[in-house]
Amino acid sequence: MIFAVLIITGIAGAGMYVMKLRADNATLKANQIQLETAITEQNKVLEQQKEDFTAILESNKKLNVLINTFKKDLQDLDKRFTKKNRDIGKLAIDRTKSIERIINKGSANAARCIELASGAEHTEEELKATLKSEINPECPALANPNYVEHQ
């Protein structure tokens, strides 16, 4: 009788142990899947971060180029007024009509620059401009993207 009870208890114990092992196995499998998913997700996040950094660097570079262009445009504007000790006031007294023409042309060019800065479309003429005589000198980089200044 005792022997039978021991055998039954043993079998039951063994059965329970096997069931526990199965349950542990299933848990481990589920954990493994979750870990793999987490790794894939982390890799995706890292990749996205890498892409973002590249985009930010590129954007910074573009804005720096733009700010340098601004500085150069302002320097060029100052140069136009003061080149070779030029005095625009004296010039206007000596050659009133021609300076008036130049001022009006410059004013029209500057107005066009503001239009372009606010997002206006370039005209075909502006896009084709490659020579110094064809460009809008108030904002060459903005108005004439294909113009390359020769130093």
Binding site: I56, D73, E100, S118
Partner: protein, 111 residues
């Protein structure tokens, strides 16, 4: 039979409530880019002590009030510089707007 009666036919127990979260991207603020400006033309008149009479006469002949709002040559330079700076700020702001739009809308970095 007794078990069935006691458990009210609910063998297998109550169903578990499943809670899941669904990520819904934020709605895009889809403003169109600002419309480009259209500047009106202005005419500059250079007036000196020598041509003043002639300029005012021409204005009167053209039916324009013989009055001019003047600035000196130095102030003209300042005005030109100020306009250039306004234009640059406009361009910078527009560029920033485009860059933001590109970064947050093109690559799906919606936050």
């Amino acid at each position: 039979m007794i078990c069935m009666l006691l458990s009210g036919c609910s063998i297998g127990g109550e169903k578990k409530i499943k809670i899941f979260s669904l990520e819904k991207p934020r709605e895009k603020l889809d403003y169109p880019m600002p419309t480009a400006l259209q500047m009106e033309e202005i005419k500059w008149i250079i007036i000196t002590s020598e041509n003043a009479q002639e300029v005012f006469k021409k204005l009167e002949e053209a039916g324009i009030d013989p009055v001019l709002f003047g600035i000196t040559d130095k102030d003209y330079q300042v005005l030109a510089r100020n306009f250039a700076q306004i234009r640059q700020k406009l361009q910078e702001t527009n560029n920033l707007l485009e860059e933001y739009k590109k970064y947050y809308e093109d690559s799906g970095n919606t936050q």
